[in-house]
Symmetry: C2
Subunit: 377 residues, 2 copies
């Protein structure tokens, strides 16, 4: 029933190889023949079978997207952008969810390897060494994790943490808590590192609470701890956790930002809808998805694959992989969940709230562009 290249050949009175050329190397075919073949193909509704094509060319024109948790609102915009970008380049996208499980990640890379030209690993929980090993099986681009020798798309959460801490210190907070993310998260480590440095510079104390699951519940569960820690401000691993904390503090009768200020990370769309609206470090999720796909396909273009006509020669030359690492800017978006702390108005060292840095008073709904900087290649 499905129409094959042979049907088109028969209908247009040429050999199948001519039909093949019409689609994959049109310039090698007589214009008149070409239009005739194209017309027949159109008529019959012919579409080349990509899988059959892949068998020879070694390119599937598919990519894989491995996601820690599709239901986490951080990811859908990334998935959407990646899928859109891929499709513009005539690639289809497999999406798989790992439930934050490292073993599932590994299995999925294996399972998809033969069906795709590359895989996007988003916020992986695997060890670096395992990721490196898997990258020998199939081209990989990693999002939210830095690995030497592998193409990575990173968001500058370090800068974000710095801005957040400076913002809080500028408001007069000296006792600040950091709600850590899940174990194995690069973002969480980075946040912790940068927040620690910034707190020291601002003369504030930083208490680290965690690790925590990167969910609303993770934040909710820490509300009690936050109160007991006696801090007046909290930077959470992500918005979901910050929102959970908002809930938890509300249940405990702790006023935000009256008694405690809260800052999230990500700027998921939800964060404009809570009461109070959440101050947060916006991460350019969609840009990350687009960029990661571009890097993967770029690599795919550079890197000849196992097709009959490729391989050996290029490998002998010593395939030069593109291993650029891109760091995308983040930006502090100040809303209503942060307010004056106990030291508000007093003199202190360090940057002031109005000082330099990528701050921004929340503007209701305007577009935001994130610039990408190559930090290594």
């Amino acid at each position: 029933m499905p129409v094959t290249i042979r049907d088109v050949a028969r209908a247009s009175g040429v050999h199948i190889s001519t039909v093949s050329r019409t689609f994959s190397a049109p310039h090698l075919v007589n214009p008149e023949t070409r239009v005739r073949v194209l017309a027949c193909a159109e008529d019959l509704g012919y579409r080349p079978n990509r899988a059959a094509r892949a068998l020879i060319t070694g390119r599937t024109h598919n990519i894989g997207l491995i996601i820690a948790d599709i239901a986490n609102p951080f990811f859908p915009p990334l998935i959407k952008a990646a899928e859109s970008q891929a499709r513009h380049r005539d690639y289809h996208v497999f999406v798989a969810d790992t439930n934050e499980d490292a073993a599932a990640e590994e299995e999925l890379v294996h399972a998809l390897a033969k069906q795709v030209d590359g895989v996007l690993l988003c916020s992986p929980r695997m060890s670096n060494s395992l990721i490196e090993q898997l990258s020998r099986e199939v081209p990989l681009v990693v999002v939210n994790r830095q690995l030497a020798g592998l193409p990575c798309v990173l968001m500058d959460v370090g800068q974000g943490a710095r801005s957040a801490i400076e913002h809080l210190a500028g408001l007069g907070h000296r006792e600040i808590a950091l709600l850590g993310g899940p174990r194995g998260s690069w973002t969480s480590r980075e946040l912790r590192r940068a927040a620690g440095v910034a707190a020291r510079a601002a003369g504030a104390d930083l208490t680290v609470l965690g690790p925590n699951p990167p969910t609303e519940h993770g934040g909710l569960a820490q509300a009690e701890q936050v109160r007991r820690a006696g801090v007046t401000a909290v930077l959470a691993y992500n918005d979901l956790m910050a929102i959970g904390l908002l809930e938890g503090l509300d249940a405990l009768g702790v006023a935000v930002p009256g008694e405690v200020s809260v800052v999230g990370v990500d700027d998921i769309s939800l964060s404009r809808l809570t009461r109070p609206k959440l101050t947060t470090v916006a991460t350019p999720t969609a840009a990350a998805g687009r960029t990661a796909v571009d890097m993967l396909l770029q690599q795919d273009t550079d890197l000849p694959r196992t097709g009959r006509a490729s391989g050996a020669a290029a490998v002998a030359v010593g395939v030069r992989r593109t291993t650029a690492q891109v760091m995308l800017q983040t930006e502090l978006v100040i809303r209503d969940s942060t307010g004056p702390g106990p030291y508000a108005g007093r003199e202190r060292s360090g940057a002031t709230a109005a000082g330099p840095g990528p701050h921004r008073r929340a503007d209701p709904g305007g577009p935001r562009v994130a610039a990408g900087d190559v930090v290594a290649s």
Copy 2:
């Protein structure tokens, strides 16, 4: 570089067809040979190439998931459940986003047809006739749309609308608005129909506002209209729109539920986080994803495909397709966005707020099971 069936055959000293059987018909192979082959395969890290296999068997072991808008929080739980269910059955999932565009839907079905064993069409915007036509190209299961002769997974939003209207009428509301969804949405029509009937039965007036885009902005934009319409209660097409309306009313200084009560549909996780918390008709999104995948794969099992060994005979017999339509229950979850209306406490006809029907006082976080009823086959 990638290891093929031939490498395994060589390593284990058998013919490739024996290796093939070891994987696709193990009972036809001598147990000793089998373990040897399996050991070699394991050693070499062999995985059968599914695309090559599909060329012969006619089954790709892939399915397609076509989604109106991945970033709409209604869909991620559905995607997650569908992907998980598919993977349990050893299927991989292509995900594609159409941006609510009917033409993109059609193109995507064509594009994916050859690479998948079936497609899940989620909340399609295409016409019925086009969907029917496409279903001749590739097996389809449709979610949130009823089509004679096609397997469908529906959520009983009609019942949900009824419950919502009865709830509002029971609270003493007589002037109710319905915020309609996008054009071409089965759910929107169904909601409107059922809400109309229920309102009449309860002696209430129903004003329909719309169509609207199924987004927060769609609701926000209608806030002014809602106020002018002089209604005291609103049922919105979905939670996103309801939340937008909440925002809009807040900006206008209209108290919820003091002056206007608001009910959403879907129970996305966000709806527990707004202030006030949203009363809403919970739809079993994850169950819908799972069920739809099951129906698709069931159909795939019944329906022989274009492999060499299949086709003709079965087609001649007149392939009996599974066209069951499943209707999943919805449930009204009462939270804080609905309250007494101007006629509260007065006598009236119709069901009371405490009357029968699938109501539920919000219980904080307990699991909910949705039962599926076959309404046709």
